[in-house]
């Protein structure tokens, strides 16, 4: 009786076959929407520090080296891969890559460093980015100086883009009256 049960066990064990993955020697694709290491695109980044402000592990650090250079350091050792930085980046400069093979003997191997070129705000003196056409650039704000490295005193032209018809409409607009009032 015990012998037949052993045979049955062998048959049961043979039925599924080999399921072990040959992982380190064969690539293993990640599932869809997998969040691996975040990757920065330095050509799109405007240095708004939104990612650094919202990182739950506070693993994205920003520092202004001088008036023109802002340095963004991503230390991947304590990143929890939540993807909040990629979600809120206004320029979509951060992408969650499918890379998960991040094991390293040193902490420095999982870091990313970005050096961003910033300009000076004429009002507050802090740096901001206007090289790339972004939201700030489109607004054409009055009073901001366009200081190039070569020509530092070129003032930016300001254009009044307010539509007069829309302005009149806004001025004439009235709130809906209270019912029965």
């Amino acid at each position: 009786m015990w012998l037949t049960s052993k045979f049955r066990q062998i048959v049961l064990a043979l039925k599924p076959g080999t399921v072990t993955l040959k992982y380190p020697f064969e690539a293993r694709p990640v599932p869809k929407d997998f969040r691996g290491q975040p990757v920065w695109d330095h050509t799109k980044c405007i240095g708004c520090a939104g990612c650094a402000n919202h990182c739950p592990a506070r693993t994205i650090l920003l520092r202004d080296l001088c008036q023109e250079i802002r340095v963004l350091v991503y230390d991947g050792s304590r990143c929890t891969y939540c993807g909040r930085c990629a979600d809120l980046c206004p320029e979509k400069a951060i992408a969650m890559s499918p890379e998960f093979e991040l094991a390293a003997p040193r902490r420095e191997d999982v870091t990313q460093t970005l050096e961003l070129f910033m300009l000076t705000c004429n009002r507050c003196g802090r740096c901001f980015d206007m090289e790339i056409p972004n939201v700030l650039d489109k607004l054409d704000l009055r009073g901001y100086r366009y200081d190039n490295i070569e020509t530092r005193t070129v003032l930016r032209r300001t254009t009044d883009r307010m539509d007069p018809a829309a302005l009149d409409e806004t001025e004439a607009a009235r709130r809906p009256e209270r019912i029965g009032g």
Partner: protein
């Protein structure tokens, strides 16, 4: 350095590595993934790895969790109980660098605060494949894929870096005067 570590570990651990699983206040996510690599799907016993119950039997400590204040002396004792040569794997973002809790009041800030972490496997939790990759990296079976990345928007014609260095030095002098 990684090649040297791999060679040194291959020389120091020519046979099977025995693992001791040390939970230092983890949320059990990483522990579940460590148990997952022992299942038939991700069979690490292919490489001769085996989980043992006592640090005295182990070559490798799998450290999971940011080392909390109550577990700090216990982790140190477990590390001292392991016979040398020994390796420590920081599994998960908490053990690798402290995770979200790296500066909270009751956390010592990652595995490196308690024991020297030889290999860190970030992830929250790391995939079972990532843990296998880290172990295979330590055994010298796969090359290392991660490397520090440095990106620059503008390469400056003027030497802004030197200027910044001078600024920092000036600040140091001010700090000295203030002290």
């Amino acid at each position: 350095m990684p090649g040297f570590l791999a060679k040194a570990s291959a020389k120091a651990f020519p046979k099977s590595l025995w693992l001791y699983h040390c939970n230092s206040g983890a949320c059990n996510g990483c522990d579940i993934e460590i148990l997952n690599v022992l299942t038939p799907y991700y069979d690490v016993e292919r490489f001769g790895l085996k989980l043992v119950g006592s640090p005295r039997h182990a070559d490798v400590m799998l450290l999971s969790g940011a080392v909390t204040r109550p577990t700090l002396p216990l982790v140190k004792r477990a590390y001292e109980a392991m016979p040398s040569p020994k390796l420590v794997f920081g599994i998960g973002s908490c053990a690798a660098g402290g995770g979200c809790w790296f500066d909270t009041y009751n956390v010592s800030g990652g595995g490196a605060a308690a024991v020297p972490v030889d290999y860190l496997i970030p992830g929250c939790p790391p995939r079972p494949e990532a843990i296998i990759y880290g172990v295979a990296l330590a055994l010298g079976l796969v090359p290392q894929k991660s490397a520090p990345v440095e990106l620059k928007q503008v390469e400056f014609p003027i030497d802004a870096y030197l200027r910044n260095k001078a600024w920092e030095e000036r600040n140091v002098i001010y700090r000295l005067i203030k002290d």
